[in-house]
């Protein structure tokens, strides 16, 4: 799941746009109407959506890879089945979202092939958490519990998004994400109530994932990393809250649960400030964040390599299928 846009081209000038048409569009947005794929929309709206939804979709697909590392290794038949179903859902979300993005890209003559090729060339980014390594089975639980927990918070924020096809896809995705969080929580609970070894790998996993979880929602403002497209997303009623509000909601929901399991986070300063009415925490290293989403994270190259091999190694299959479609 992704809702943070760093390199948007959504500042594109609105050439050839009729101001009256634009005003009518904005009136619809203000009235809470849903925009559909065939409706007129300003270019920056379309381009902003393409960025957002293609990143979201491709992040679901890249997000399958770290968890997938634990699918064949899961410790019981039940866990093997559970995590396989979960990763399959993520691929399904990716498919659903890429279909929505493909419709938006149609006027530009672009297809899914372009999306995959942009991913491989580094032009299309994927979410920071999926650049990180997994080390133990506890990571399989952590991704389901806290990464998907964070995803639920940022996606719920867009459940009323102005673009109808995306909004409807999100309804289904959010419903499934709730199961994922439960799946993750079940793995975490078993470890938390388990042997010393199990508790150790659990705490170690949380320590490792903590900075990535804080980074999940993106920087609080554009000042941090140079540019952020959160404002335009709010103007067009695609999302409601800003990055920091989402992060606070996440901390509100999950920190009490973390502490109640007897776990700690690697930040001695973290506390709830009653006066400010929010959590105070040590900022993660935002420079590192910038590096990570430029595909310079710890596992960026390896994960992209997997997609590249899958894409190139199976190209003969796609050729064979397309031959049949055109009947030549």
């Amino acid at each position: 799941m992704y809702n943070y846009l760093e390199y948007g081209s959504s500042d594109a000038p609105r050439n050839h746009e009729d101001p009256e048409q634009y005003d009518r569009f904005m009136a619809r947005i203000e009235a809470g109407e849903k925009i559909e794929a065939d409706d007129w929309m300003p270019d920056d709206y379309r381009q902003g959506l393409i960025k957002l939804i293609s990143m979201h979709g491709i992040s679901e697909i890249m997000g399958a890879l770290p968890e997938k590392e634990w699918v064949p290794k899961a410790p019981t038949l039940k866990r093997k089945l559970g995590i396989m179903a979960k990763v399959q859902d993520e691929m399904g979300h990716g498919q659903l979202l890429l279909r929505v993005a493909e419709d938006l890209m149609k006027p530009y003559g672009k297809t899914r092939k372009d999306l995959i090729e942009n991913l491989l060339s580094g032009d299309l980014k994927f979410h920071n958490v999926f650049h990180m390594p997994t080390k133990t089975w506890a990571d399989a639980g952590m991704v389901g519990w806290l990464v998907d927990g964070a995803a639920i918070i940022s996606q719920t924020n867009m459940l009323d998004a102005s673009y109808g096809p995306y909004q409807r896809a999100l309804q289904r995705i959010c419903q499934e994400e709730v199961f994922h969080a439960q799946h993750g929580e079940a793995i975490i609970m078993a470890l938390a109530e388990g042997s010393d070894h199990q508790r150790e790998i659990l705490q170690e996993s949380l320590n490792r994932w903590w900075p990535s979880l804080l980074m999940f929602f993106g920087p609080a403002s554009a000042d941090t990393t140079g540019s952020s497209k959160q404002d335009i997303m709010i103007k067009y009623k695609i999302r409601k809250s800003n990055n920091e509000e989402l992060r606070q909601a996440f901390l509100d929901k999950y920190l009490p649960r973390v502490f109640s399991l007897g776990l700690t986070v690697p930040d001695e300063t973290v506390h709830y400030d009653e006066e400010q009415g929010q959590w105070v925490y040590q900022q993660p290293d935002w420079d590192e964040f910038k590096q990570i989403i430029k595909n310079k994270g710890p596992r960026s190259k390896e994960r992209l390599r997997l997609r590249q091999i899958a894409y190139e190694n199976n190209s003969w299959v796609r050729q064979a299928l397309s031959k049949e479609v055109v009947g030549s």
């Binding site: 697909i61 399958a64 890879l65 997938k68 590392e69 634990w70 699918v71 064949p72 290794k73 899961a74 410790p75 019981t76 038949l77 866990r79 093997k80 089945l81 396989m84 179903a85 990763v87 399959q88 691929m91 399904g92 990716g94 498919q95 890429l98 089975w137 793995i187 078993a190 109530e193 388990g194 042997s195 070894h197 199990q198 390896e302 390599r305 997997l306 091999i309 899958a310 190694n313 199976n314 003969w316 299959v317 796609r318 050729q319 064979a320 299928l321 031959k323 049949e324």
Partner: protein, 276 residues
């Protein structure tokens, strides 16, 4: 129990009364469970790497069903006192495993997390051949003298034909498309012809299985499978079906099974007493 009496065994307790019956039944169950477990393990390695996203979703769904079938067969073994399902799946030595050798074969070159040069042609041929066989075996088992097994076979047959249809479609589409795709399938068919033999075997208790009406005979199983495959291919390869690496039904296996075991028991053995 004598043949022809049409005696039905309705419970694990009853099956345990006759040691020979019990032995033949367990043998059959291990074959069914281990076959499905290995096929679904190899399927799970593909997750995220299939030729396109839609196939990833479909293949994963089939793999989950198939692993679910393995679980059902392991449960029948658990009822017979063979141990817990997770021990049966994760913690048996290669020589105790009864899956056919062709089914343990790696998906291709590389590892699922590193340089996975997996071969879709192998996967299509293997799954099409296997699901064709599985349907015949399950249909025979619906008439098995062991009622709990016949019931499970009936349940599995509610979804398994869709798996077969999926792989049959892949097989037909690729076989009838580009020269390249057909050649790739043909190479894998020729390879399968040297290795698929033990899939169709019922192992050291084949005679007892037929005698107790647990299962049809090996000859019948094999003939029906060849008939189905001939319908698809037009003509069958001229050579006899081989079992190049031996018979998994006798507990013979290759290093590919060792590789599979090492992966699927990775977490399980990291803390054996633990509840996961």
């Amino acid at each position: 129990m004598e043949r022809g009496e049409e005696k039905v065994i309705t419970s694990a307790e009853q099956a345990k009364q006759d040691p020979t019956y019990l032995q033949a039944l367990k043998e059959l169950l291990y074959q069914l469970a281990d076959d499905d477990f290995l096929v679904s393990f190899r399927g799970s390695e593909w997750l995220g790497l299939a030729p396109h996203i839609e196939e990833d979703v479909a293949f994963s769904s089939i793999t989950q069903n198939t692993m679910g079938h393995a679980l059902l067969f392991y449960q029948l073994l658990e009822e017979l006192g063979e141990g817990k399902v997770d021990v049966l799946a994760h913690d048996r030595k290669p020589s105790e495993r009864k899956n056919a050798i062709y089914l343990e074969k790696k998906n291709g070159e590389g590892h699922y997390t590193e340089e996975p040069y997996y071969d879709w042609a192998l996967t299509v041929v293997r799954n099409y051949f296997y699901e064709t066989f599985k349907k015949i075996k399950l249909e025979a088992i619906t008439k098995s003298s062991y009622q709990p097994l016949a019931n499970v076979a009936g349940k599995v047959l509610m979804e398994q034909p869709y798996h077969l249809a999926h792989w049959k479609l892949w097989f037909e589409q690729l076989y009838n498309s580009t020269d390249d795709a057909r050649a790739r399938l043909q190479t894998r068919i020729a390879e399968a012809w040297e290795e698929f033999g033990d899939v169709l075997e019922l192992g050291p208790y084949a005679t007892e299985m037929a005698h107790f009406e647990l299962m049809i005979s090996e000859v019948e199983l094999r003939d029906r499978w060849l008939e189905e495959i001939e319908l698809m291919l037009g003509t069958l390869p001229s050579r006899t079906l081989g079992k190049k690496y031996g018979s998994g039904r006798e507990g013979e296996h290759t290093s590919d099974l060792d590789q599979a075991i090492e992966i699927f028991q990775d977490v399980y053995v990291s803390d054996e007493g633990a509840v996961w």
